[in-house]
């Protein structure tokens, strides 16, 4: 006797459906790099940057380090280069300087914004006193070091930023702290919070221990984004901050930074680091665009942009686009 089936048995149907769906989803654009996105802003012209069609055949991937200021500068460069006619992708927030450099050397990105101070102290191992205080000498020294590695760097931004030891205003008043040297004798009772790589960097904990001779009760590594939260919540006595942080001006009644009287934390300007062969292939417009578009990045401007990103939580892309537009670079 033959049994008639009125419908395909359900599990078989389910399996077939599963296979078809999985093939479909897999085919629907499974790119290996979901963090790379095209900055698809095509400005209508009218800005200072003129699009050069010859640049269109060059594809550039712009990276950045993992904090707001770096992402903003990365986006500014990326969008400016796109306005100049390049095909641009972004791969921001890669990590700290060692990761960003490695990604650049491996050819996964075309370039990223670095700080002269970080490059000299962290990547090339110079001592703080060997880092020039002025922007141009620091840039030239960094560029010479990068060129030994087959990379190159473009001229610096007007603004510079440095690490700083920060604390709550009332803590500073209670313990009478104005400079970092004032911590001597008191730091053994205080906890310090910083980024994970801070332990090794001479413009961070390693430098505080070596050049200021300070010992802290404890060091806690936390994500850079938490540097103010840990102070506010009273968990950190001291925290590593940046001199360009918007919180320092907007919430100046809450936070203060201690003066770096021994000049262990050099200020660094931002330079765009790229591969020599990439620069050659991209032509002169690459350097020209970068140099022109960063002319507007003075300290007040950078602080304003940081404020928009970190306080108003605007995405770096929008902050950069607004800057380029209001400064007249894009239409």
């Amino acid at each position: 006797m033959r049994t008639k089936t009125t419908r395909l048995s359900a599990p078989a149907a389910a399996m077939a459906l599963a296979l078809v769906l999985s093939l479909g989803v897999a085919a629907c654009g499974s790119s290996n790099d979901t963090t790379g996105e095209s900055t698809a802003e095509s400005e209508g012209g009218g800005g200072a940057i003129v699009s050069n069609p010859a640049n269109g055949k060059v594809t550039l991937t712009i990276g950045s380090k993992n904090f707001a200021e770096s992402e903003i500068t990365g986006e500014i460069y990326a969008q400016a280069l796109e306005a100049a006619g390049y095909t641009v992708k972004t791969d921001l927030s890669l990590g700290s300087e060692t990761i960003a450099l490695k990604t650049l050397k491996q050819g996964e990105i075309s370039g990223y914004p670095e700080y002269t101070s970080t490059a000299l102290e962290s990547l090339f191992g110079l001592e703080p006193e060997e880092v020039p205080a002025e922007a141009q000498p620091a840039y030239e020294k960094a560029k010479a070091e990068f060129e030994k590695e087959g990379l190159t760097a473009f001229p610096p931004t007007p603004f510079s930023s440095a690490n700083a030891v920060g604390t709550l205003k009332k803590t500073a008043e209670e313990l009478d702290l104005k400079t970092i040297s004032d911590l001597k004798g008191k730091s053994e009772e205080l906890s310090l919070y910083g980024s994970p790589e801070c332990r090794q960097r001479s413009d961070c904990l390693a430098g505080l221990e070596k050049f200021y001779g300070l010992k802290f009760k404890s060091f806690h590594p936390v994500d850079i984004g938490l540097r103010y939260t840990v102070l506010e919540k009273g968990q950190a006595d001291l925290s590593i901050l940046f001199t360009t942080d918007p919180q320092l001006s907007a919430e100046s009644d809450k936070f203060v930074i201690l003066e770096d009287d021994k000049e262990v934390f050099p200020a660094g300007n931002v330079i765009f680091v790229t591969d020599q062969s990439v620069a050659k292939e991209a032509g002169p417009d690459l350097e020209k665009t970068i140099v022109e578009v960063q002319k507007g990045l003075t300290l007040p401007v950078m602080q304003e942009l940081n404020a928009r990103a970190e306080l108003e939580k605007e995405p770096a892309k929008k902050v950069a686009a607004d800057y380029l537009k209001e400064a007249g670079y894009t239409g």
Partner: protein, 251 residues
């Protein structure tokens, strides 16, 4: 190997090869045992056996604490509800909902609300551990053969004795499965605890800029071994606690 020379942050011709594997399992295993100079200049040594053990101990500590906390909360509730036969919606529903909690969001939220530190991380992990233990305690007790329970009552056992001497021993397999599931979830989330300031083995994994790719793979290896080790331990414990009668009937 030439790969490793290029990878250890050394200067040289910039590589044009994408995806150059910088860490092999061999270099990662070396990292576990020998402290090495960090890729970040400053020369400080990272890795090595003592740091690895320290991070592993922290992870173990926080796992055990969280597991204990979730058991203290979940077992009484689950066993009681199961014994009484009420609250199925709560017990089973909680199990479902608990599975849906995204771990990264939980850790980040706890860190944002309470702050960074061991206590907060332990609470977050315990939150993840409660649902599987509660649900399995409930289901385990419910699945106990009613006849056995009635027989126990018949010979004069108090409710507490029925629960402890009859229901719980018979529910051990399901109970232990719940505890094992909770442990797996807790160990997995403890791995990202460094985001909330508690330095577990995840420190190696998340902070490649400090420990290099060797450290990352090393951290992954040790975490995997720890998780498997705990699971094995609990499986053996389950075998010992399961009464002979149950073992025979399920063979």
């Amino acid at each position: 190997m030439a790969d490793d020379a290029l990878a250890k942050g050394g200067s040289g011709v910039s590589s044009t090869l994408p995806h150059l594997p910088a860490a092999s399992f061999q270099t990662a295993i070396e990292f576990i045992f020998e402290a090495q100079p960090s890729n970040v200049t400053g020369g400080k040594l990272v890795g090595g056996l003592s740091q690895t053990i320290e991070l592993a101990m922290t992870q173990l500590e926080v796992t055990v604490l969280a597991l204990a906390l979730s058991m203290v909360v979940a077992l009484p509730v689950g066993l009681y509800l199961g014994h009484r036969g009420t609250g199925e919606l709560l017990a089973v529903g909680l199990g479902h909902a608990g599975r849906a909690i995204p771990e990264l969001a939980l850790i980040a939220f706890m860190a944002a609300v309470i702050g960074v530190g061991t206590l907060n991380v332990t609470i977050a992990l315990a939150v993840l551990g409660v649902p599987p233990i509660l649900t399995n305690a409930f289901v385990g007790i419910r699945q106990v053969d009613r006849a056995s329970v009635e027989a126990a009552r018949g010979i004069g056992m108090t409710e507490a004795e029925v629960l402890s001497k009859v229901e719980v021993p018979l529910a051990i397999p399901t109970l232990m499965t719940g505890i094992r599931g909770a442990t797996i979830a807790i160990v997995a989330t403890a791995t990202i605890a460094p985001l909330a300031g508690v330095l577990t083995l995840g420190d190696y994994i998340i902070n490649e800029n400090v420990y290099g790719e060797d450290g990352v793979v090393a951290g992954a290896i040790v975490v995997a071994l720890m998780a498997l080790g705990l699971e094995l331990l609990l499986a053996l414990l389950q075998r010992r606690l399961t009464s002979k009668g149950l073992k025979l009937s399920s063979a």
